[in-house]
């Protein structure tokens, strides 16, 4: 489960994931602009004392390959692979930055993010958008920094001057004032960036780095050579202002602001309970009954000391598979119930504390005072009795759980409605939920999208409607066109004030209506009713080429004023 970070939020990486082989993806874009996304490896004084740790397009990896540039992939504009336990000791901070190449300013960017992926799972994401910036030409997106353990901070701080200001901030010197500065390190000497003493001692870096192209966790000894590093000489004396301290001050931080260094974690921080959840801003606040809070309490004193068994391996050292005792040092049947500590979760493991309550904490319902609450992508809660006593109409069988006094009754379409429904296929099997209480609705793990109508209208095909307020009016609309089997297409139009839940198979795409917007009539889910629908059969019909109809036969073209949209699902009914 990805944690959403806000500007200024910080967390220990070990609270996010137990892995140290991380993938960092940055998505940032703006119409007509290109971005240089780079990673600065800084020393304890936040200086770029070794320019080989300035990882960017011209220098795609650091000497021991702890930081590698992977390029654009999986929706990310730029991505890095960071192996935390291979980062040499003198590198105390990795700062991920984006700079605009050429003219432009950060306020133009469209919403983007920096995210951390570990073990195939996105564990953290900090989203930003252009509204947070103004005329800056560079932005520091996020930092990995070493304060006892590696931590991640969502920074989101802009720099007016672009890349050179950024470099100067990090103690590098830009020989010439052009943004061409990044090319410098390639020249090899790179006098501007590093104190010469450091650069003159390359043999120190000599320990052979293991083959880092293997994505599997590197053998444990890999981190050992790092200790052979001599501490870096004092950085260049240029007393750059501690600009980096600012993010902690301006940001709405939970921790007390102050020095650029993270203040020592407050005691609550170290609690092994469910660490990831305790800090989560969106953490459900429903108080647990006292009896339930207990299971993980006794765990507390246990955790700081690494429990034996699996925990014996610090997270930094992946189990040496194929080495001596695989998978934990406790051979033999001592894993019987008598030895619970063997299963102790190492501190900061994703599962947090032990016990059913702690394990399920992240799936708790999210209480809000609103009538419709989306609990997760596939489940929605309606609070009957909030916002008036109107009942809700829902697809039959879509209730998965309810609390309170809720009455379910059959909702007939009426005689005329059934005739129309039968003739057009736009028939909904509905039930009316009335009373007071909370009803959880879901169906076949389809994704749900609450759409709030405020007097406007939307067309949805009947099979994609999950539920809606009874205050909404709906009717069947006919879309005419030649070439449609059966003569016409039908859809439901909803109008009024209220909420409708639309379901889609898979994540849909929402397209703005432009002069050339087409959709397959089987995949289109909904469109704003002001858009005009025209049937087009542009793709040649190849109906009888093979057994079965292989061609894309009927397309719908949409026309409308700007502001209209269509929703298409990746699934053809």
């Amino acid at each position: 489960m990805a944690r959403e970070f806000q500007r200024g939020h910080k967390a220990r990486i070990s609270d996010l994931t137990a892995g140290t082989d991380l993938y960092v993806g940055v998505q940032i874009s703006a119409p007509g602009l290109t971005f240089d996304i780079s990673c600065f490896g800084l020393d304890a004084d936040e200086r770029l004392s070794d320019d080989r740790y300035f990882v960017f397009f011209n220098q795609p990896k650091s000497p021991e390959e702890a930081i590698q540039l992977l390029g654009s992939q999986a929706g990310d504009t730029e991505s890095f692979r960071v192996t935390l336990d291979k980062i040499p000791q003198q590198i105390q901070k990795l700062s991920f930055t984006a700079t605009i190449d050429g003219a432009g300013q950060m306020s133009q960017i469209v919403p983007g993010y920096i995210r951390i992926v570990a073990g195939g799972e996105e564990v953290a994401r900090y989203s930003f958008n252009g509204a947070e910036f103004s005329t800056e030409r560079a932005v520091m997106l996020g930092d990995f920094y070493l304060k006892d353990v590696w931590r991640f901070a969502a920074v989101g701080q802009g720099f007016d001057g672009g890349l050179d200001a950024l470099l100067r901030n990090f103690g590098g010197e830009v020989a010439e004032e052009e943004p061409a500065a990044p090319q410098q390190p390639q020249s090899g000497a790179a006098p501007g960036f590093a104190p010469p003493a450091q650069a003159a001692a390359p043999p120190v870096f000599a320990p052979p780095a293991p083959d880092a192209s293997v994505p599997a966790p590197a053998p444990a000894p890999a981190s050992q050579p790092a200790q052979g590093f001599t501490p870096p000489p004092a950085p260049a004396p240029a007393p750059a202002p501690a600009v980096h301290a600012q993010p902690t001050i301006i940001a709405p931080v939970n921790t007390p602001p102050g020095s650029p260094a993270q203040p020592p974690p407050p005691p609550g921080y170290a609690q092994p309970g469910p660490p990831g959840h305790a800090q989560q801003p969106a953490a459900p606040s429903a108080p647990l009954p006292p009896g339930y809070a207990q299971p993980h309490a006794p765990q507390a004193p246990q955790a700081p000391a690494p429990p034996p068994g699996y925990g014996q391996q610090p997270p930094a050292a992946p189990p040496g598979y194929g080495q001596q005792p695989p998978y934990g040092q406790v051979p033999g049947p001592s894993g019987a119930p008598g030895a619970p500590s063997q299963y102790g979760v190492p501190q900061g493991a994703p599962q947090g504390g032990a016990g059913v309550t702690a394990a399920l904490q992240k799936f708790k319902e999210a209480p809000t005072g609103q009538r419709w609450t989306q609990q997760n992508k596939k489940l929605v809660r309606v609070d009957l009795g909030v916002g008036g006593d109107q009942p809700v109409l829902a697809r039959q069988g879509s209730m998965v759980l309810y609390q309170g006094k809720v009455d379910f009754s059959y909702k007939g379409a009426g005689f005329a409605g059934r005739i129309v429904g039968n003739a057009t296929g736009q028939e909904m099997q509905l039930m009316r939920c009335s009373g007071k209480g909370q009803v959880f609705l879901a169906e076949e793990a389809t994704m749900l999208h609450p759409i709030e109508l405020q007097g406007d209208a939307i067309c949805v095909s009947a099979e994609n409607v999950l539920a809606f307020d009874e205050t909404l009016h709906y009717e069947v609309r006919r879309i005419e066109g030649h070439g449609i089997p059966g003569g016409a297409l039908y859809t439901m139009q909803f109008q009024g004030t209220g909420t409708i839940i639309v379901k889609t198979h898979g994540a849909p795409v929402v397209l703005p209506v432009t002069p050339t917007t087409f959709a397959d009539c089987n995949a289109v889910v909904a469109w704003s009713a002001a858009a005009q629908v025209v049937v087009s059969s542009q793709v040649r019909m190849r109906r009888n080429a093979y057994a079965g109809d292989t061609g894309e036969s009927v397309n719908l073209q949409f026309r409308g004023a700007p502001g209209n949209f269509i929703v298409v699902q990746p699934y053809e009914v």
Binding site: A74, T357, L379, G404
Partner: protein
């Protein structure tokens, strides 16, 4: 070549059971610390792992499960890393730590073999749920993995006034100390061919949690695999 896939490398083992992504379970197996898993749920393994379908111990505990068809569990033993999945269902990992949990049979993916467990039929429900509802009650010190079609939601019953009603098809697991009973919600009028679609629910009362999946598909996908 494998750089684009770098983000999917397994994270180092830190616990007996862990999620790899949302939909896969990673178990670190050791000799003498066996695992019971759904038959057919293994997608990959590394190391020396042996599988024994329908082991005698399971047969005894689950003797009346599924009308004698044999329990859909296999015993996995050995040393290695085992990856389990169930047709892309979300996997929820729980460290019981002395708690207990009652799991719907189709939503159980794997659990430590040394846990105390038993199969029971949900009282009062079998008479209307067509398939009958079997659940497995597990407790002790160890790990359990559940599957859920879609991300589950956990509801606190609160121990209060109101009961919590759950569609049996969407139910995944619940705390064993909850009181369970069946409830018919339809009225006489809706018996005539047109129910609301929600004919019966399970009512939970007491203090505890109920885990519900956002899908009412209760078909046992692994059963066909054998």
């Amino acid at each position: 070549m494998n750089q684009p896939l770098a983000g999917f490398a397994p994270a180092p083992v830190t616990a007996r059971m862990e999620n790899h992504g949302d939909h896969m379970l990673k178990v670190a197996l050791q000799t003498g610390n066996d695992l019971l898993a759904r038959v057919g749920s293994m997608v990959a393994y590394e190391g020396f792992v042996q599988y024994e379908p329908n082991p005698p111990a399971v047969r005894q505990i689950a003797k009346d499960w599924l009308t004698g068809e044999g329990a859909p569990l296999m015993k996995c033993s050995g040393d290695g890393l085992l990856y389990l999945a169930d047709y892309g269902a979300n996997v929820v990992v729980i460290n019981l730590d002395g708690d207990g949990i009652s799991v719907n049979a189709t939503n159980l993916l794997a659990f430590d073999a040394h846990l105390t467990w038993g199969v029971e039929r949900v009282k009062g429900l079998a008479k209307f749920a067509g398939q009958g509802l079997w659940n497995t009650r597990i407790s002790g010190q160890g790990w359990v993995a559940l599957t859920s079609r879609g991300k589950p939601i956990v509801v606190d019953c609160g121990g209060g006034e109101d009961e919590t009603y759950v569609d049996p098809d969407a139910l995944v697991a619940w705390s064993p100390n909850l009181k369970v009973k069946g409830k018919r919600s339809f009225k006489a009028q809706s018996l005539i061919g047109r129910g609301s679609g929600e004919a019966y629910q399970m009512a939970f009362s007491g203090q505890g949690l109920v885990v519900v999946q956002p899908s009412e598909d209760s078909t046992d996908r692994l059963r066909v695999r054998g």
